[in-house]
């Protein structure tokens, strides 16, 4: 797992309190509305997302940048590649 700090993002998706598999469905919808090269910040309190989201990025050809741990959630960063 790659950890980052103060990563800038172009848009945010707050999935705190949402259950599986929303963390694998919502980022795809959001990225479709973003431009190539832009960064999406995904907030989640679901531990399994730390494994699922990097794997999902690999399968979907997106660039997983890394994760930052916040007070009450994780912040995962994805750069849109396609």
């Amino acid at each position: 797992m790659k950890f980052v700090k103060n990563q800038k993002s172009d848009d945010q998706l707050d999935l705190v309190c949402r259950m599986c598999p929303m963390h694998l469905l919502e980022p795809g919808d959001k990225l479709r509305c973003m431009k190539k090269g832009e960064v999406l910040e995904v907030l989640t309190d679901y531990d399994q997302a730390l494994e699922d989201i990097p794997n999902w990025c690999e399968r979907c050809g997106q660039d997983f940048i890394g994760v930052e741990e916040d007070d009450d959630c994780y912040k995962l960063y994805i750069r849109k590649k396609n």
Binding site: D14, V16, M22
Partner: protein, 392 residues
């Protein structure tokens, strides 16, 4: 005999356009909108069209609308959902004392989870003073919930002023707009609210349908967990015919709101003035001017509202005592109690809720019938006898 149905806060007849729109979704378009084959994706498209229709009524973006099973569920989701999801921000919830039971009891449920809940009093017209709210807000407050208009007394609250106060303090603000939807304009930006509840019934949409508007970046805890419906905010296979009907009802309500408002205000004023002129010892409850266009509520001294309802219904007039729950439990209305209405006056509560289908002939029928019914009941009332003897 002329029939006058004046209890539209309890239930409304579905509009023909709504029934027509819903019908195919019970048969031909039965598929589950979550499926990925064309039968389902076609239905999903229609669900999203309906979401946009409901969003338009509120001036909101469609993706901010969550469909629920009722206004009560939307209120539960707003109050409990925001408090539970934001507990680290604060442990205090503020509601007005005249909220609907779905807000009051959600707040009481939070008390059981050790949240601090403040029930703010209102003035004798049922309005909450924004200044009082400003003095009550503190750093521990996470949510304020105040209804746009009251279902029992019709009073409209200063929502925009209170929402602005909350915004300044970083407190989420929820408005229950179930009583006001379709009667007065509701714009989420104009009101400045973070969350807003409505239901389909008041606008002649289907029963069992509600919606919650949730502003972007407002975190809420889902109350019904399960599948991915409503973007994971509210699980359960969608009530597709209900959603379609809600959409059509919302579109028509938005289109006709100005015209309906004028008509309702005129009928309401005739009814208010007519009762005042013809029935002695009758007290208008709620604000005399800042009230819903289709709302008339009175208390008649020395008689019981339930008896009034019964005798009026024998004359083809259908009204209510106010809160159905309080009435069935033979409890005094907490709303009238919060206004400071004396218990012996509050028990004679009568509420007329009008909508676009009502006409002047029906109002005249009420004004011709009501004085005699009130007099008949008072003749049998020991309280009235006392009242006359005291006056003499």
């Amino acid at each position: 005999m002329i029939k006058a149905y004046l209890d539209h806060a309890s239930a409304t007849p579905l509009r023909k356009e709504v029934i027509r729109a819903m019908e195919p979704f019970y048969g031909q378009y039965f598929a589950n909108p979550m499926t990925i084959y064309d039968l389902g994706t076609g239905v999903k498209e229609k669900v999203e069209e309906a979401r946009a229709q409901v969003a338009d009524l509120l001036g909101a973006a469609p993706e901010r609308i969550v469909f629920t099973s009722s206004g009560a569920e939307a209120n539960n989701m707003a109050v409990k959902g925001v408090a539970l999801a934001n507990r680290k921000k604060g442990n205090r919830v503020i509601v007005s004392a005249v909220e609907h039971h779905s807000v009051l009891n959600s707040a009481r449920f939070l008390e059981r989870l050790d949240y601090e809940v403040t029930f703010l009093p209102v003035d004798s017209n049922g309005q909450l003073d924004p200044e009082r709210l400003a003095k009550t807000l503190d750093e521990d407050t996470v949510l304020v919930s105040v209804m746009h208009a009251n279902n029992e007394i019709g009073t409209i609250q200063h929502i925009a002023a209170m929402a602005a106060l909350c915004k300044d303090k970083g407190v989420f603000f929820h408005a229950d707009c179930v009583a006001s939807v379709g009667q007065i304009p509701i714009g989420v930006e104009e009101l400045g609210v973070d969350l807003l509840s409505i239901s389909a019934q008041p606008i002649q949409g289907p029963k069992g349908m509600g919606a919650l508007y949730v502003r972007k970046n407002v975190r809420t805890m889902p109350l019904i967990h399960g599948g991915i419906q409503e973007r994971g905010m509210r699980a359960g296979t969608e009530n597709v015919p209900g959603i379609i009907g809600f959409g059509v009802a919302a579109e028509l309500a938005a289109k006709e709101i100005d015209e309906n408002r004028k008509k309702l205000e005129s009928l309401r004023n005739d009814l208010i003035h007519g009762i005042r002129e013809r029935v002695p010892k009758a007290t208008l409850t709620g604000h005399p001017e800042q009230r819903l266009p289709g709302h008339v509520s009175y208390c008649f001294q020395a008689i019981e509202g339930e008896a009034l309802i019964f005798l009026l219904s024998q004359n083809g007039i259908y009204a209510n005592t106010g809160s159905a729950c309080a009435s069935k439990a033979l409890k005094l209305s907490p709303v009238l109690g919060a206004l400071g209405v004396a218990p012996d006056v509050a028990q004679g509560s009568l509420v007329f809720t009008l909508n676009r289908t009502n006409n002047r002939q029906e109002i005249e029928h009420v004004l011709d019938t009501l004085p005699g019914v009130v007099e008949r009941l008072r003749m049998m009332s020991p309280l009235w006898k006392d009242e006359i003897e005291t006056a003499e």
